[in-house]
Each structure stands twice: as C-alpha cells, then as structure tokens.
C-alpha cells in the first residue's frame, strides 16, 4: 500500500537515501520547492492552499533537520528506535560524500535499475557506441547525453541507480556550469555516471572537466 505523504519519513519525503550528502539534501530541497511552491505550474491546481501550506511546512522541517548534523543524528536515532531503519544501514554522517556506487549496489531498488541499465548496455554494445560518440579528449555534456540516449538509458534510470538528482544530471548533460555542483562532488558524480554506463571513469572525468574549463575557463 502507498504511504501517505504525511507518513513519510524525512528521507522518503525528500527522496534521498539514508546516507546522502548535505549537498544532495540541498538539491533535493530545491527540487521539492520547485514542485510545491505556490508558483509551480505542476501543482498550482493540484492542492488547496491549506494542503500546500502543510506540505511546505513538512518539507521545511525535513530539510532543517537533515541539514543540521546534530539534529540529523538524533533523527536517525529515532528512526532506529521506532524500527523504521536498522542501525547497520546508517553510515557515519561525519565525512559524507556522494554515495559511491558499490554502496548503492546493496540497495534493492538501485540495483534493480542497475541491472536494467546493464541489460540495455549489453544489448547495444557500449564500446562501439562510445567510440562513435566520444571521439575527442574533450567530452561535453551533449556527448554524454547522446551516448546515454543511444544506449536507450533514461535520466530517471540513472537517477534511480546512482541517486544523482535529475537536476544535477540535467546540469551535467546540459553543460549548465552555473548549476553544476562543486568540483569535488562533480567528480564523484561523473564517476558514478561513468560507472553505471560502464565507461572509462578516468577518461570521462578528465574529458568533462576539460570541456567545462574550455568553455568557461
């Protein structure tokens, strides 16, 4: 049965994984505001103003809790105590980066998507396609997008498998420098992106960084 919105825990509410980084929490929060703000085309006729106020308050509360490391630890403790998550699922929140791919493999939904993507890649043959599409030392967001689409992989699937938010994925594929995450995160996202599509991670990271430097350096 579907959980009602108001019964979701803060992680579910913001659609982030349990060990997500503060950067991603901020991104997720921005996404939520985009969707639920009064001015949002997607929802302006969906909710009454009472419903909207209630939802936004809940989103705010979730954000303010998870972005504050002390509050977050206390909240996680609470989730463990009510049996919603097990302690072993919690990693140390201290030095959090984007979740590396090997961790995601253990998560059920992520790995389902991962398998789905693997199947597509096997069908299409990623080697030939990437040789065709990525010819240069400079790799643009467009190249990545073309390759992904040629493989028949959706942004949604990458998001599910890597938990890199669609907004970030779009910024990467759109060479949208203004909205790219700080370089330490960007590198780690590019790494996950490359890994999930079974590409040469070093080459992708190098190529993409050269690309944005050329454009805007």
């Amino acid at each position: 049965m579907v959980k009602r919105f108001k019964d979701l825990n803060y992680y579910q509410l913001l659609q982030v994984s349990l060990n997500t980084s503060p950067f991603e929490i901020r991104q997720a929060y921005k996404n939520m505001l985009n969707i639920y703000e009064e001015s949002s085309l997607a929802t302006y006729s969906f909710f009454s103003s009472d419903e909207r106020t209630e939802i936004l308050a809940k989103v705010e509360e979730a954000f303010l809790t998870l972005i504050d490391s002390k509050k977050r630890i206390a909240y996680d403790e609470k989730l463990v105590n009510i049996g919603e998550v097990s302690r072993s699922m919690l990693k140390d929140h201290e030095h959090k980066k984007a979740t590396p791919i090997y961790q995601i493999n253990k998560e059920k939904t992520g790995s389902n998507y991962l398998q789905k993507i693997r199947r597509k890649i096997q069908e299409k043959g990623v080697k030939e396609l990437s040789n065709l599409i990525i010819k240069d030392d400079v790799i643009s967001g467009e190249d990545l997008k073309n390759l992904r689409e040629a493989l028949g992989v959706e942004v949604e699937e990458i998001f599910q498998a890597t938990k890199i938010s669609p907004t970030v994925l779009q910024a990467i594929e759109g060479n949208d420098v203004a909205n790219l995450p700080p370089s330490i995160y960007l590198k780690s996202f590019l790494k996950s992106y490359a890994e999930v599509l079974q590409l040469d991670t070093k080459r992708i990271i190098q190529g993409y960084l050269t690309n944005i430097e050329e454009d805007h350096g």
Partner: protein, 305 residues
C-alpha cells in the same frame, strides 16, 4: 496479443488526435495492423490528421445497427496497415449515447481484429468518455504546459480514478456501502479518490484494501505536448512525480513533445507529419513515445478488470 491504448485528457486542443494519429502511423509502419477509433463523437477530426477529407463510412453505421461488425467500417488510410474508424458522420454527442449503445460499442472495440487499437477521445470528463478511456489496457493522457490545461488534466485523472472505483464497486455489488457518503461529498465538487477509499476503509477494511490495490494498479502515462523552450522540460516529470506521490503510483512520463508549426503545415499539404518531417524534434519524440509504449510491458495490471 492485442493491445488497446486510449488517448485522452480533459482539455480540448491539447493534441490528442494528432498524437493518436502519429502513434498509429508509427506502429503501422513497423508492420503491425493498427486501427484508430475516433470516439470524439460530435466533434471528430481524427480523419484530418490522416488526410481523409470526407470519410465515406463510419461508426454511425454501427450505432444505427446498419452493420454487425465494427471492423466493416474501418477505412484504409494512406499508411499501409493503418485503418480508421471515423465518427465524422455521427450526429451524436458522446453525452447522448445510450447505455446499451455504449456497452455494445465497448465490447465491439474490445473484439476488433487488429494488433493495436488506439482510441482517440474527446475533451471533457463526461462519464461516457471516461468509460471509453477505461476500455484500454493502458491509458495515455495528453496535457500542454498551460495552467488551465494542467488543471483539466488533474480533473480528468481524478475522474478516471473515481469512475474506475465506482464501476468496480458496482460490479462487486458493494456500491451501496458508501453511496450516501459519496453523494453527499460530491455535492461540494469533485471528491478525491483518496477520500473515497478512506470512506470505504472505514466501512470495511478488507474491501477498502482490495479497491485501493485496484487503483494502485492503474497504469497511466503522461504526454506533455506543445512544449516550447527549455524550462518546460521538467514539467512533465514533476507532474508525474506529484501524481505518484499524492494519488496512486501508476504514473509514468511517456514523452515531452515540442511545439512545431510544421504540424499545421503538414495538414495543409495533406501529408502525415511524421512522414513529411521525420527528423524534427517533435517527430523524434513521437517515435520515442511509440517505441516506449510498445516495448514496455505494463508493470502493474492494466486498466481492464
């Protein structure tokens, strides 16, 4: 196995007929036998997208009992394997269709001997339109990025859920359980399907769960049509996300399709858009939509009960 898709959505002019015709042509081009059924009785125009100016035969003959088999009025089009059952000569509004006529028409549609059956619906949320929509194994609804169109889309979606629920409760003969409350609630406008389910759960938990699962299983796909500019790319995804979160989780974004003034050109020059301009962004998106619809098996049970 035969598949029936319905193409609907509350707002007039969002592109339902254009998309139905394009998907039909794309399916047919890959060798499947496809029939388009124009169910916009009273304001039909599907034939125009297929360059059939005055359809010589149509649905009216079946409704008037002049023929026994609906497929007898399927007209060949300029696309091989693509047929059209037109309602251009129907003098009837969908609202004026009698119950028995509707039943008969729906069962004839279900038995059409084709690989793909695409139902092009009219605007609005009349219960006859909803019943046609629910005939399909998968529903596609078309919206455009304007506030009014999105508002109508949400209304259409909620109406679909309510109609499905009511139909199934009647079939299971337990409509009486919650009829009075529903009627009372509906006086203040459209009831949410979730409120509806809540009432049912209160009366009978077991039944409530059964029907909630039924709604969880409906598969609905959104097409965002006539999209212009970059900012709108995300809109379809957001709407789907909101529906999945706040209604029931069967929503999927089929495609975002760009506005292209050549859609109009193609009609004037009497050619099918995807044939005349196959490499435009709009045509490529339609091809993607067709491929996605065809390939992906519904994850959950379909709309048919």
């Amino acid at each position: 196995m035969k598949k029936i898709y319905s193409i609907g959505g509350g707002k007039g002019g969002s592109g339902k007929s254009f998309i139905a015709a394009s998907l039909g042509a794309l399916f047919a081009r890959e060798g499947s036998r496809v029939v388009l059924v124009d169910l916009d009785l009273g304001a039909s125009n599907l034939h125009t997208f297929l360059n059939l100016k005055n359809p010589p035969r149509g649905l009216d003959e079946f409704i008037d009992k002049k023929i026994a088999h609906l497929e007898d009025v399927a007209l060949a089009t300029s696309v091989q394997n693509l047929y059209l059952i037109s309602s251009a000569r129907c003098s009837l509004e969908v609202a004026n269709l009698f119950y028995a006529q509707k039943k008969k028409l729906i069962s004839a549609i279900e038995n059409l001997p084709f690989d793909y059956v695409l139902l092009d619906l009219g605007p609005g949320t009349h219960f006859n339109t909803l019943d046609f929509f629910l005939t399909a194994s998968e529903g596609v609804f078309v919206a455009t990025p304007e506030p009014t169109a999105i508002e109508n889309t949400f209304r259409f979606i909620k109406s679909i859920y309510l109609r499905k629920l009511k139909q199934s409760l009647k079939e299971a003969d337990i409509w009486y359980l919650c009829r009075d409350e529903i009627v009372a609630m509906s006086r203040n406008g459209l009831t949410s399907p979730i409120d509806f389910i809540n009432i049912l759960v209160k009366k009978d938990i077991e039944q409530g769960k059964i029907f909630e699962d039924l709604l969880n299983g409906l598969k609905l796909r959104l097409v965002m049509n006539k999209v212009r500019g970059q900012i709108r790319e995300n809109l379809g995804r957001q709407i789907v996300e909101v529906c999945n979160r706040h209604l029931y989780p069967g929503f999927d974004l089929l495609e975002t399709i760009n506005y292209d003034s050549r859609v109009y050109d193609a009609i004037l020059s009497k050619q099918i858009f995807i044939g005349k301009y196959p490499y435009t962004k709009t045509a490529v998106a339609l091809q993607k939509a067709a491929r996605k619809l065809k390939q992906e098996q519904p994850i959950a049970i379909g709309l048919e009960s």
